[in-house]
Symmetry: D2
Subunit: 338 residues, 4 copies
């Protein structure tokens, strides 16, 4: 049994993590830390856990009793936490925030199993990817590796409201969001950092530089990911299209073959022959990817559950890899479907 500690356990991702882990056959939750909820029953705070666990939140952090700690903090707080606290070296860390996703003066591995499964298996510290970033990268990885990203990429991605977190606000008010659509952080979403990092890392040396527009701007010699995020009127899921322009026309078959080959051994990412819909992945840790070709344009559709493959499910998948468990352990989640 992997002994687990959870920090920030009273938040959205904390709750979803507990909902997954209480049914994981090889995990014991040792502590769920939350100062503000210390003493309260987890099932009284997190929707859907009544009858599944008698666990209570604690303000303690007994790191010596665990094998791994999940950081479910808000962005920026993981690094701050580590400056004030010492976690024993043998305890693995899985950080769900964005603090260590970009390479730098740290040893965190970027936890996208479809790109770095071996490195994840051997790492001690892991930075779990962002939800949009996961979905968009899974749509582009095979083309990046093949050196086929040579023009600006049009990305449109629609997210459920859980992507906006737990705190109520104007754009998560039901009266406003129900039946509504809008865009936000147009061409400026922070996940562009990790997306461009991955695309450059995976591409052959001959491929053009993918510019990070947040640091390099849009007047650049590199190619850019032109990312429009939309607020969707559903709670869970990210539905994404990516349009890539090729230098030369290629057959649909050859492009599809690239995708099928790339994801042949993926545990949760599947190429889908027919155009998929979002609810095929909601409630699961799966990603579905579909491709069509029109002249020199490749149109990819990719989709995930933002709280699972886009956050907690991928974190557990990474934990499974880090501890040598079956990659799918505890993640045989029934699709909601309807």
């Amino acid at each position: 049994m992997v002994r687990v500690g959870i920090l920030g356990a009273a938040g959205y991702t904390g709750g979803e993590l507990i909902r997954v882990l209480v049914h994981h056959p090889e995990v014991e939750i040792v502590f769920a830390n939350s100062e503000s909820n210390a003493g309260n029953r987890v099932a009284d705070v997190h929707e859907g856990l009544l009858g599944d666990t008698e666990l209570r939140f604690t303000d303690q952090m007994p790191f010596d009793q665990v094998d791994v700690v999940f950081f479910c903090f808000g962005h920026g707080k993981s690094e701050a936490f580590l400056q004030e606290h010492t976690i024993p070296a043998h305890v693995k860390i899985i950080d769900l925030a964005q603090d260590f996703r970009l390479k730098g003066d740290h040893d965190y591995v970027y936890g996208l199993p479809e790109m770095s499964r071996d490195a994840i298996r051997q790492c001690q510290h892991l930075a779990n990817p962002g939800c949009f970033a996961t979905c968009i990268q899974l749509g582009l990885l095979p083309l990046a590796q093949a050196g086929l990203l040579t023009h600006d990429i049009a990305v449109n991605a629609i997210t459920g409201s859980t992507g906006a977190g737990q705190k109520p606000g104007a754009t998560t008010h039901f009266s406003w969001r129900n039946d509504n659509m809008s865009v936000y952080k147009l061409f400026a979403h922070q996940h562009l950092h990790e997306i461009t990092q991955t695309l450059n890392e995976l591409a052959p040396a001959s491929a053009p530089h993918v510019a990070d527009p947040l640091t390099e701007g849009y007047d650049t010699d590199g190619i850019t990911v032109d990312f429009i995020p939309y607020r969707g009127d559903f709670a869970r899921g990210i539905f994404c299209t990516e349009v890539v322009k090729l230098d030369q026309p290629q057959s649909a078959d050859s492009i599809v073959a690239l995708y099928k080959d790339y994801y042949r051994d993926a545990a949760f990412t599947h190429y889908c022959d027919a155009a998929p819909d979002l609810k095929q992945v909601v409630g699961t840790n799966k990603a579905l990817v579909h491709v069509e070709v029109f002249g020199r344009k490749v149109v990819i559709t990719s989709m995930i559950d933002n709280l699972l493959k886009g956050a907690v499910g991928q974190a557990v998948q990474n934990m499974n890899l880090m501890f040598g468990l079956n990659e799918k352990a505890g993640l045989g989640l029934k699709a909601i479907a309807f």
Copy 2:
């Protein structure tokens, strides 16, 4: 032209009132008061008004320039406002809050046109009914008048999220409310006050007393309205069923005739032969009522748009009556339907 002033114009009902009044052929909005939004364009604050009005909020209250003032305050603030301000005697007041709905030491007429159209026509001060109260009363008025309310009445009413107002909170968070159902203020909703007041007022002397359980409790000799309010996962509308037990079985025809007769001259309340659905009224000032009879049980279905017939639309209907206009002026609202 009726010259209108609006207090509390930056709130939910304020916004909906402006959305109705900008298209009213016989109204001029003289001022829309909001201290916090003074100077801002109304169309920048209230969804859906761009292109309809160049009006700006003001912190002034030029009562001498208007014929009527709408109070769109939160509950309890109308009375407080009147203690601190003087409104000229010739200016009519329409209060959308609950402050003057119960009879007392004031001259406000309870503004349910289906019950008191004549009194409304002659009144200077009007208390606009609550949304649930409107919908439930319209389901029960004909039976009350006929003296047929002699047993406890089972009322189940499902409301849209706009009933909870503009301020975001846990139960209006999209991630929670979407696809969800719950109950609240079980057997204890404050609208029971005005409902019981009306039922007792309308009933013949021989009918049993309808107890107000909020003041008399449920261990009472009177009959009670057993009201379960539900939070629905839609934004607009109240859908209500009322079950009334008769002393003696009566034919469905005779009961239906009571309803058709009662609402024969109603401007917006219609008896519906087939079982109606909520979206037939959404976006309009209409109420639909339908009745079926099983043995000694009469089952009524009633429905309104909570922001229109349940608030702003009824307020404008009352204004039309108070100024001798066509009762339907400005209220020929297209049904949203889908």
Copy 3:
């Protein structure tokens, strides 16, 4: 491993059953029968199964290779099927339709574990309860057993669209149903048969007869379940309130104690201290029950996922009991929550 065959496998409940069983640790699906889909991949027909199974539909029915057969036919077709086919005596049958729910000239046990767990454990043939019937009965069982059902019972239950099945129609058209509410089969839903059967069976001899209004009418000496079914604008779940009138006032504590005691050993039905909401059970096999008392009125809230505890999940729970497995095996389903 329990070897399973599924008839009617291409329908809604067939699909949901497969979504559950592919992750059940002690089940092997031997065949999924569908004539019209024979040869097609199950994952191409049923949403959410891509990557979970390579199973294909078959038009064969190799009963000699299975331990249990699930009937996922439409209502009325199970009995017809058995008249035309012979299933070996050692093969257990779990029928999800209504054909054998009422006692009669057959040996099917009514499969509500909260009432008949021991009989289920020993039965060979099982009739799985209806969705509304499950939710309503779970709200009333403790009071029935205590002999406290002595007056007509007001039941209001709101169901998701999946209750209406797979075939598209006017009331399941998204454009109509979205944001809408309506009632149907008012006081006449067919589940009243099984509900009244249970309440009479469970009640002490001294309790009044519960009339089945579908056969006895509403002008009856017995008490009646006055059931109003609503179409909700969500896909999954049934949310129900039941109002029971007692002969004598009782303390809330004593009533709550009845419920806690009755469900003490239930695997999936939990008493909830705070008022629950529907999404606490969506995606799971759980039922939640909550009680409040006002004078002589007991107000119960009960809720389930109609496709799981109301159909497929309960069928698997019954299968677990019939084969001596852990009652919860394969049913540790993550709550969708949002």
Copy 4:
């Protein structure tokens, strides 16, 4: 009063047209033709009309009694109808189908007032634009006229379910569509015909040819509109983004000025300084347009109600122009907003 006849009056657009026209102050509906519903009350067939009209469907077509006929047929049936019937020359025709939208051997004017108001005022026969086509064109017209469309245009547009019409089907089943997202007719939507026709017509001679990929393919020398249509999980509205690449960077101010100038006199299309959301237009005949600039990329957001500005509302706007009425007559529709 304009005397109106409606053909195909029992369909979706027929219903919405009646919902608008019953409140139009200068219109009398003379007949609403539907063979299958002849004799039935319109209010019994079309949601939301109870209390608004006593009109009944007829199988007659008294063209001599009307000034204008609206064709609310399915696509392809308008032309067929005209081959079998003769409409008096003085009766104007407004066709809501796509039969006459492309220039050809006919005198129908393409009815987009923001482009051709004068021609519309003088025309006898009018082809009302498609819903997607309206929304996308309104996002691109100012750039087209300025000759700034010189590269492929990325268009993503999400439509409500009413765009799929009245007939229930798999992708309009509530259980499937609720909370779901999907794409369809990828790069192949039939509205590309009319969109490319407009862009070429409006552009200066020096601008590159906009290819119609449905007839010219995507391997073309012209630029293409790369259009991805999405099925949204709401009933009404189209929300669209268009990304245009300029040859040279231009200031945001200069681009915004183009839009404000182009739509200065538009009756219903408004430039919006802040990023708008879809529900600002739902229930109205408005279009909102917003622009942001990143390097050489112009990102436009445009949105309409697909049944109003995208169909019926625009048809009535065109009727107003054709009869010399105030362009806004009968179209002062209250925004639903929530």
